[in-house]
Amino acid sequence: MDELFQHFLNAIILGGTYALLGIGLTLIFGIMRVVNFTHGELYAFGAYCMYALVMIFHVNFFLALALAMAMGILMGAALEMLLLNRLRGADIDTTMLVMIGAWIVMQNMEQFIWSGVALSINSPFPANPLVLGPLSVSWNRVYVFIIALALIGATYYLVNRTRLGKAMRATFQDRDTAALMGIRIDRIHTATFALGSGLAAAAGALLGPVFVVTPTMGDLAASKAFAIVILGGLGNITGATLGGFILAFVEELGAGYISSGYRDAMGFLLIILILLMRPTGLFAQKERIG
């Protein structure tokens, strides 16, 4: 019984970070129709920024998080303006190829600069976990969970309550009309990509201290993010949030009671099942055909 509760607790904690990984990607896809293969590298970028700030420049741990996220935003904006802006209107596989190229470049630059050796970031949290009866969870994880939820909330607010958000949603609904309404589509794209990148970098900066920082750390994060996005329906923030938690539960319980070897397969199996039953993802509003 305790094991089951521990699994639940783990899943909830993990779900928060998965959701954070997911929304950035889904935002970019929904609004820009770009399958962002650099998502995982921006996650790694955030983690390396965190490492540099905390371990080399001894910046305050919490300040460093904010800075890392800011750098992620700048990085994202730069990528968008450098690579994607001139590719608008190109078909999905062209942009995808460019993003794959960028992914290869970024990952190997990371290894070139930092070498393949794993780095770890000290966190100010007590090493002893928070104990709840038979259950326990590290303070660092709790902190990550809370910040993740906060960031997700902030994103919701930004998308649903602000003028920028309104413009984003308009672009998402119908870019042509949006353009007619005088929305600067390219600005929206840059903003969207920057925001998505910032969220990915934040996730990296949050999880860097929990895990270790390596050049290939982005790959797994990216594959999870893709799973989450498709679970929730492409471009659906609520879906991605729920998708994050669902994936966490499926993995945790799947690994716990079916086979840990298939832990990382669970998400993909789920995707295939869901797409066969509901092609637009779990929470996507039905689309019109013809």
Binding site: A90, V98, G101, N108, F112, I230, D264, A265, P279, T280
Partner: protein, 345 residues
């Protein structure tokens, strides 16, 4: 016109072992050739039906595993006390089995995944490949998991004195070339036929295609089957050349390689995958020869990808004159002059 160029090129390539005795060079040609075959199969889906499959390596891998398992034999427990097994079969038979199994998988996947399109299809295909990889990793009894299937037999044809063994590079190189030519012809005939027109039609305008009575799903599945079967051949060649198969054969980077080859060469053109394949087959070798930092070799590789997309968005072949493309309107000229009665009467 282009046809003669084609046969000239084949003749030239076939002559390579005669004057090129550098085995490493042949090795590069062989591996490149295998990937060109895979890229041609991907091009059928991506280029002609317009469906981007980022799980294509799964068909390649399934071909490789099938060929390896059939030629090595296996024994698995279906139920605790019930096992099914297969005695080792000759390599050529194994390769045919690989084509069949890959084709069947293609059929199943096509039937299932073409309920979705575009980006959804892309991600379904990735997921599919990932699941197949994890099965290969975890179903140790069948696949040996990460311990890999090794000592895969060499392909041998005939027997006794006239036995032809494909252990040495020149023979294997010619085998790959032959297979490549066959696959090329198959694809060329397909895309220039009624079925091919249907595929291109659904790429260009799906609802218009259905409005003239084309069963879109049927042709998507057909394309997937043929594509998967050809990818399976490539995988089988790989298995009997490298002679070890492990779950790494499902690495995403292999799919990426195929996609790059197709798009840089020019998707939807017959020559595209060959040109793109030749280019990206050699790039890593050239970089290797330049002896720059391994990481930087990758960086250059990635930058090259991006540049190609920018400067040759439609690919190299269309850029150097689209008249090798499979959708050339060759038939038009002479056909248009042949007179006949109007149908509508």
């Amino acid at each position: 016109m282009s046809r003669y160029f084609g046969w000239l090129l084949v003749a030239f390539l076939a002559s390579v072992p005669l004057w090129m005795h550098d085995f490493y060079f042949l090795h590069v040609l062989i591996t490149t050739g295998i990937f060109i075959i895979a890229a041609m199969s991907l091009n059928l889906l991506l280029g002609y039906t317009g469906q981007l499959s980022l799980g294509h390596v799964a068909f390649f891998g399934i071909g490789a595993y099938t060929s390896a398992l059939v030629s090595l034999g296996f024994q698995i427990h279906v139920l605790p006390d019930f096992t099914i097994g297969l005695a080792p079969k000759p390599a050529w038979f194994a390769m045919l089995a690989a084509v069949a199994v890959a084709g069947l998988t293609g059929y199943a996947i096509g039937k299932l995944s073409f309920r979705v399109r575009g980006a959804y299809f892309v991600i379904v295909s990735i997921s599919f490949a990932e699941v197949v990889r994890l099965v290969a990793v975890n179903w140790v009894e069948l696949t040996q998991g990460p311990m890999a299937l090794n000592n895969i037999p060499v392909l041998r044809l005939g027997a006794g004195p006239l036995e032809l063994s494909f252990l040495r590079k020149p023979e294997f190189y010619l085998l790959v070339l032959a297979v490549a030519v066959v696959c090329y012809v198959v694809i060329a005939r397909l895309v220039n036929s009624r079925a091919g027109r249907a595929m291109i039609a659904l790429r260009e305008n799906e609802s218009l295609a259905t409005s003239v009575g084309i069963d879109v799903t049927h042709y998507l599945v057909l394309a997937t089957v043929v594509s998967a079967a050809i990818a399976g051949v490539a995988g089988a060649l790989y298995a009997h050349y490298i002679r070890i198969v492990d779950p790494d054969i499902f690495l995403f980077i292999y799919t990426v390689t195929m996609v790059i080859m197709v798009i840089t060469g020019g998707k939807g053109t017959l020559a595209g995958p060959i040109v793109g394949g030749a280019l990206f087959g050699f790039v890593p070798e050239i970089l290797r020869a330049m002896e720059i930092e391994p990481e930087l070799q990758w960086v250059v590789y990635g930058v090259l990808m991006i540049l190609v997309v920018y400067f040759l968005p439609r690919g190299i072949v269309p850029a150097i004159g689209g008249y090798f493309s499979g959708q050339k309107s060759g038939g038009t000229a002479e056909a248009a002059t042949t007179a006949a009665e109007p149908v509508q009467k």
